[in-house]
């Protein structure tokens, strides 16, 4: 299988991946770097469980061809807590306000929330709902997820 060598920044570290050209960013993260926080919930860009941040934008990594990642900066759920393990305010808010239940959508949900708050630190409810419109959740009914993101936005001020 034809391989490609892709160099990019992953959670702040420079990395190079030698993987088949047909691989997606999600497959590379999970199978090459063993970062399994991003999940495959549908594999066709509908559910958002695979969301990571590429150059500041939340993307469905299951659709993102790995050659496209060359030179970019990728942040995953594993890269947002402090080095000492202190959680990011969004992560804390999800735990405190029951924004997480089964947790399968959570990595993607938090990454969408982070991309949103990085761009808009003071979102209203509609902004938040738009920000996570592509992230499906079956457990929560989204109510406490929206509240968690509101709480994180306030905590960050």
């Amino acid at each position: 299988m034809k391989k490609v060598s892709v160099s990019f920044t992953l959670n702040g570290d420079p990395v190079t991946a030698d993987v088949p050209t047909t691989w997606t960013l999600l497959k590379t993260l999970r199978d090459y770097f063993e970062l399994t926080g991003a999940k495959e919930g549908c594999g066709v860009g509908e559910c958002g469980a695979c969301t990571v941040i590429v150059d500041g934008q939340a993307v469905n990594s299951c659709l993102y061809p790995i050659p496209e990642v060359e030179g970019r900066s990728v942040t995953t759920i594993e890269g947002i807590a402090e080095k000492d393990g202190a959680l990011h305010p969004i992560q804390t808010a999800f735990l405190e306000n029951n924004g997480v239940q089964c947790g399968f959508c959570t990595s993607g949900m938090i990454m969408s929330a982070k991309a949103l708050l990085d761009q808009n630190p003071d979102p209203n409810e509609e902004d938040i709902r738009k920000g996570i419109a592509g992230n499906f959740c079956r457990c929560t009914g989204y109510v406490q997820i929206v509240e968690s993101i509101e709480m994180a936005a306030k905590a960050d001020k």
């Binding site: 959680l87 959570t106 992230n135 079956r138």
Partner: protein, 794 residues
């Protein structure tokens, strides 16, 4: 009673921090050394004879380790009625029939190999409508039963029937009667994590199954039975849960893919993982059972229900899983939601060549409650009584015994109906029409276990180390419901430690005692009660040590002080305060005498006693550990389908205000009030999560969700086409928590996992009726159905 430190508090889910950092290991993330990947080939027809299967090309593909068909594995029947085999070798009866399976070194190779298998079929006549399937001369889905005896009909031999009272007389006595035919459809559980497992045999053919099931011991029972028939009798089976990405009923039965993984692992001598993709999750996983009900109710002039008569037809699909047993749960709302003295209910399950069904949140209750609550509204209209008032008149009350012998203990239905009425401003808003309306529906559900198997037991083990850490080995499973937090709160309270001291192990049959399953909204009630009993035992062991050790420790300390300071005068202490374990207590990690909780010498950290009890230097060292197997005094349903199967019952009422666009047929929910009698909220924030989540799924059930099955084929096997609600579907939801406290629940709690879903869809349907004057009797209530109904009204 003293204030609780942890129970009833909104303790954060810190214990599950791995889920917000990507560390939690789901089946998707789990790899075993040498693991192979399994993939299944499904049928291309709804009903056909298999003439030939050619696996030669698949076998030749590099990286393939096994290709199995029905010819390669023992011809053993599995399932609730033993009406199917693991791989089908003669006849396929539905599109999801498993025809062949592959194990390969990568998922991609396995998939390619599956595409290389060639199957020749001879099509057989099929039947897709249960009413057609019941007719004489309809194509038979099964020609024989599990024992090989010829079948003459597609009707299953499951006589679900319940009858109490004198129906004939009741009809005569009724002043008003309403009759409705309603139907519900297939809906998918839509777990965000798809189904999957890893089967792994050791050298002695003992099996470890990493599996998402929520009935770990039931799994062992079914697999053991299978093992007996394939020559593996007596082999040990261990089921281990990874972190589970949602359940909602999908993991109740042992599914065919799980048996296939076992066969592939046995054949290859390697661990084999099968992980469904989303399309398989929609096409090959048994969804919620659809049903058609014809329901008739009558009441007297004062609005008191006199009778309820209902017949249901269930499309069973081609095989039988738990879906066929949903009528056993339907009997509960049919007989016991509101006071009704004369009840008749009959359900008929019919084989068709459609997909077959299993369990989903609420089991058969959402279907049956849709029927009952549609009929309640119709009858209220017929009797000229406000539907809220009508429900209030007929509400269940504490102390009632229902026609199926359910013994109602705590019951907050009155408060729930009243709360919904107030919060929705029902009296001002109802009956105005002009596109806006309000509707409500109530529910009853098991909330104190559910004796659907001979044991409804739940085991728990508690052990403490010398640092005061508590290991809790829970025999239930954690599928995201919040049990790690809630159980740690209960253990902390009952034992006198803190939630951060608790380390929980869920879902491992080798470690846990036994459990009937984390289903039927039973986990908090069962595990909570088991924990309270086990912790009382452990606490007693600690206090037994404390009464021995505290005087010794105190006196030893005085001796040391005297050595240091010869002038030290030993205080005159009343050692009687700590002479008996009954006079001692533990709270927030500290042991103390009840009569003097802040005693300067007798208040001792729990870890000090544990350490001094263990490290004694002579042959008297002790550890603290206790276990409990709690099986409540409930009854299985008898032949007449009567019995008090749960220790207590949940009640609740959902009310909605809707706006219906008469041009587009779209329904907007302006407000949803969900009032629930939960006994006592163990963790209010987590409780809200259950109510919101179940409520949202109920809105989907009411308005958008439907697996479209045409001629046996699932036509919309993707999230895009299935229409589950997203964050953009705003449902302003308000929860009202009613806490009567339950005498049998742990700290007064009842189960709450399923109730929120149950009354939501009928409440919406009733609100739509109030808004536009047409009653939609078929779920989901789509814009097309509303526009058609409006046209017919004109």
């Amino acid at each position: 009673m003293p204030d609780h430190l942890f129970v009833g508090k909104s303790i954060p889910r810190t214990i599950e921090a791995d889920k917000v950092t990507g560390k939690a290991v789901y089946i998707n993330d789990l790899k075993r050394p040498g693991m192979l990947y399994g993939k299944i080939l499904y049928s291309s027809h709804a009903h056909a004879r298999i003439k030939r299967i050619d696996t030669s090309m698949a076998k030749q593909l590099q990286g393939v380790r096994a290709v199995l068909t029905g010819q390669d594995i023992p011809d053993v029947r599995v399932g609730f009625l033993k009406d199917q085999t693991v791989l089908k070798k003669d006849v396929v009866r539905q599109f999801r029939d498993e025809v062949a399976a592959v194990a390969a070194i990568s998922p991609e190779i396995a998939e390619e190999a599956v595409s290389l298998i060639k199957v020749e079929y001879e099509k057989l006549p099929a039947v897709f409508d249960p009413f057609e399937a019941m007719k004489e001369g309809a194509p038979l889905v099964h020609e024989t039963d599990a024992r090989g005896r010829p079948l003459k009909s597609n009707i299953l031999p499951l006589p679900w029937k319940f009858a109490v009272g004198d129906m004939e007389q009741a009809r005569k006595d009724a002043a008003y009667i309403a009759k409705d035919t309603v139907s519900t459809t297939w809906v998918n559980q839509c777990c965000m994590g798809t189904s999957g497992c890893i089967a792994e045999f050791d050298q002695n053919n003992n099996l470890t199954l990493y599996d998402q099931t929520n009935v770990i011991f039931g799994h062992i029972g079914r697999i053991s039975e299978y093992f007996e028939r394939i020559g593996l009798a007596g082999k040990k089976i261990r089921v281990v849960n990874p972190v589970v990405g949602g359940s909602f009923g999908t993991k109740l039965d042992t599914d065919i893919y799980e048996f296939i993984a076992i066969q592939l692992a046995l054949n290859t001598r390697k661990p084999v993982k099968i992980l469904f993709d989303r399309e398989e999750e929609f096409c090959a996983l048994p969804p919620r059972q659809p049903a058609v009900f014809t329901i008739e109710q009558g009441c007297d002039k004062e609005g008191r229900l006199i009778f309820r008569h209902c017949e249901a037809i269930l499309d069973n699909g081609a095989y039988t899983s738990w879906g066929a047993t949903t009528p056993s749960v339907m009997i509960m709302p049919m007989s016991s939601l509101y006071r009704v003295p004369n009840v008749y209910f009959k359900a008929t399950c019919v084989y068709t060549n459609n997909i077959y069904a299993q369990a989903m949140r609420g089991y058969g209750n959402p279907q049956a409650t849709f029927a009952v609550e549609t009929s309640m509204d119709s009858l209220a209209v017929a009797a000229g009584i406000d539907p809220a008032e009508f429900r209030f008149i007929n509400r269940n009350r504490p102390g009632d015994e229902t026609p199926m012998n359910l013994k109602i203990t705590s019951c907050g239905l009155e408060e729930c109906i009243t709360a919904v009425r107030d919060r929705l401003q029902w009296d001002q808003k109802r009956g105005k029409q002009r596109g806006r309306g309000v509707g409500m529906a109530s529910l009853i559900h098991v909330a104190g276990g559910a004796r659907v198997t001979k044991s409804d037991g739940h085991g728990i083990r508690v052990k403490l180390d010398e640092f005061g850490h508590v290991d809790v080995i829970e025999s239930g499973t954690d599928q995201g419901q919040g049990s790690p937090t809630v159980i740690s709160q209960i253990v902390s309270e009952a034992l006198g430690v803190r939630p951060e001291d608790i380390f929980l192990t869920f879902g491992d049959t080798a470690l846990a005692l036994w459990d009937a399953g984390t289903h039927a909204s039973r986990h908090t009630f069962m595990a909570g009660n088991a924990a309270v009993i086990a912790c009382a035992k452990a606490k007693r062991q600690i206090l037994d040590m404390a009464v021995e050790l505290i005087p010794r420790l105190v006196k030893g300390e005085f001796k040391r002080m005297k050595r240091k300071d010869p002038g030290f005068v030993e205080p005159d202490l009343d050692y009687g305060l700590i002479a008996n374990p009954e006079d001692m207590d533990i709270r927030d990690r500290m042991i103390f005498p009840k009569k003097d909780p802040d005693h300067p010498y007798f208040k001792v950290p729990i870890s000090e006693i544990l350490r001094n009890g263990l490290h004694v230097g002579i042959g008297e060292s002790r550890v603290v550990a206790a276990e409990t197997f709690y099986d409540p005094p409930t009854e299985m349903l008898n032949r007449d389908m009567k019995g008090n199967l749960s220790m207590t019952y949940a009640f609740g009422t959902t009310g909605v205000e809707v706006e219906v666009d008469e041009e587009t047929g779209e329904v907007q929910i302006l407000k949803l009030v969900a009032a629930h009698d939960v006994g006592k909220a163990m963790n209010p924030t987590l409780l809200l999560g259950q109510i919101y989540g179940a409520g949202y799924t109920g809105v989907g059930y009411g308005l958008t969700e439907e697996i479209k099955v045409r001629n046996g084929r699932v036509m919309n096997p993707s999230f895009r086409d299935y229409q589950m609600l997203t964050a953009m579907d705003v449902v302003p939801i308000e929860a009202v928590i009613v806490e009567p406290g339950d005498k049998d629940g742990p700290y007064g709690a009842k189960g709450v996992g399923e109730p929120g879903l149950v009354p939501t869809a009928p409440a919406i349907a009733n609100a739509v009726y109030d808004a536009i004057g047409v009653r939609i009797r078929d779920l989901p209530i789509t814009p097309e159905k509303i526009l058609t109904a409006l046209k017919e009204r004109k």
